[in-house]
Chain length 219, copies 2
C-alpha cells in the first residue's frame, strides 16, 4: 500500500484505475467533495491521528491508502511507437516525482527503473508527482537484461554525445537517464544506441536529472 495526501492528489487516484483501499479525513473536510462513485471506505479521524499518519510536516485534511499496482511487464509489445523514460539509479524523491509529473505532461506513460531507483510510492515522490503518478506506470526491473529485449533505440543522456537539438529521435525509443552523481553506469552505457548531450553554454558542472529528462521529453 501507499499514501496519497491532500484533496487534489486523492481525487486523481479515485478517478484512476488504482485500487483505493480507504480514505481518512479530519473533521472540517467534507467527504462529499470527493464525489465518490466507487464504494470506498471513509474514516473520520482526529487531527492528532492525521499527524501520526502523514508524511508531511503540515498534514492535509484528507489522505488515501492505495494498493501498489502490478503493471504488465514493459516490453517490445507495449512500448512500440512511443517514447518511454528509463531511469538508472535516480535517488532523490523530489527528482523522481518531478520526472513522473513531466512524463505525464508530455504524454509518456511508462517509466522503467533500475531496481535501485528510489521507490515511486515513497510519500515524497507521490507528493512531488502532483497526482501524475495516477496516470504514469512506473516499473522496476534489471535494466541490463530487460533493455536489450525491448528492441528499441536507446537515447542515453551523456556528456559526450551528439547535440540534442540535432538528434533525430524518430518515433519510438527509450530515454535513458542516469543517477544524480554518477550518471549512467558503464554496464548500461554499452546498451546506448544514440548518445545525446544537452550543450552547455555556461559553467555549471551538470544539469539536475529532472531538468535533463524534461529537455529530452521536449525534444
Amino acid at each position: 500500500m501507499f499514501l496519497a495526501e491532500g484533496y487534489k492528489s486523492v481525487v486523481e487516484f479515485i478517478d484512476s484505475s488504482y485500487q483505493v483501499e480507504g480514505i481518512y479525513h479530519t473533521a472540517p473536510f467534507d467527504p462529499k467533495m470527493l464525489n465518490l462513485s466507487r464504494n470506498i471506505n471513509l474514516y473520520a479521524i482526529s487531527a492528532t491521528e492525521m499527524q501520526k499518519i502523514s508524511g508531511l510536516k503540515t498534514p492535509q485534511d484528507v489522505i488515501a491508502v492505495i494498493a501498489i499496482p502490478q503493471w504488465p511487464k514493459p516490453g517490445n509489445n507495449n512500448l512500440k511507437e512511443k517514447f518511454s523514460i528509463v531511469l538508472d539509479g535516480v535517488q532523490d524523491p523530489g527528482n523522481m516525482g518531478t520526472i513522473i509529473r513531466t512524463a505525464d505532461w508530455f504524454g509518456i506513460t511508462d517509466i522503467i527503473c533500475s531496481t535501485d531507483t528510489v521507490d515511486a510510492y515513497n510519500p515524497k515522490v507521490v507528493q512531488a508527482s502532483m497526482g501524475s503518478l495516477s496516470r504514469v506506470r512506473v516499473h522496476y526491473t534489471e535494466l541490463a537484461t530487460a533493455l536489450p529485449k525491448m528492441n528499441l533505440p536507446v537515447f542515453g543522456a551523456m556528456l559526450d554525445g551528439g547535440v540534442i537539438y540535432k538528434t533525430d529521435f524518430g518515433n519510438e525509443g527509450l530515454l535513458l537517464m542516469g543517477n544524480e552523481g554518477n550518471g549512467i553506469r558503464p554496464g548500461l552505457q554499452k546498451l546506448i544506441t544514440v548518445a545525446v548531450t544537452i550543450p552547455r553554454v555556461g559553467k555549471a558542472e551538470s544539469l539536475n536529472v529532472g531538468i535533463a529528462t524534461a529537455l529530452f521529453c521536449s525534444e
Copy 2:
C-alpha cells in the same frame, strides 16, 4: 552573510568574486584541499559545533560564511543582447536552486526576482544550486516598475500563449516565470510582450516551474 556547505560548493565561492569571511571545518578535513590563494580565516571546529551551524540533516565537513553581494542594478544597460530570467513569486527553495543551476548551464547570468520570491541565500537554495550561485547574479526588485524600464521583450510563460517551439526569441529578452501555484500575477501579465506555452500532450495539470524555466532556456 550566508552559508555555503560542502567542499564543492565552498571551492566554487572561493574561486568567485564573492567575499568569503571565514571557513569552518571539522578535524578530518584538510584545509590544504581548498588551495587557498586568498587570505581567508580558517577555523577548526568540533562535529557538535558543525551540527549546530549546518542547515543540513547530515552536515558536511566544511562550511563557508560569505557576504551577500550587492550587484549593479539590472537595467537596459547591462541586460541588452542576452537573455535573463525573471521570477514572479517563486516560493520553493529547491525550485529556486535548480533554476540558478539551470541558468548557469545555459550561460544566463542574471535572475531578476520579485521581492516576495524565496531568498537565494537560503541554505536550501544554496545547496540546490550546486555552486552555480557563485556565477549567477540574483536581484530582488519591484518587477512592475523595473520591467518596463528595461525596454526588452518579455516572454511570459502562460497556459494560453503561442507554442514555444514556434516562438522567435530573437537575441535578447526576459523569460518571465510565475509562482508555483498561481503563475504570473495579473499586474505583470500585462507587461508580457510574447505569451509562450509549452504544449501539453498528456494530462498533468501543470509543469514544475524549474522544468518550465529550463525548457524556455533551452529554446
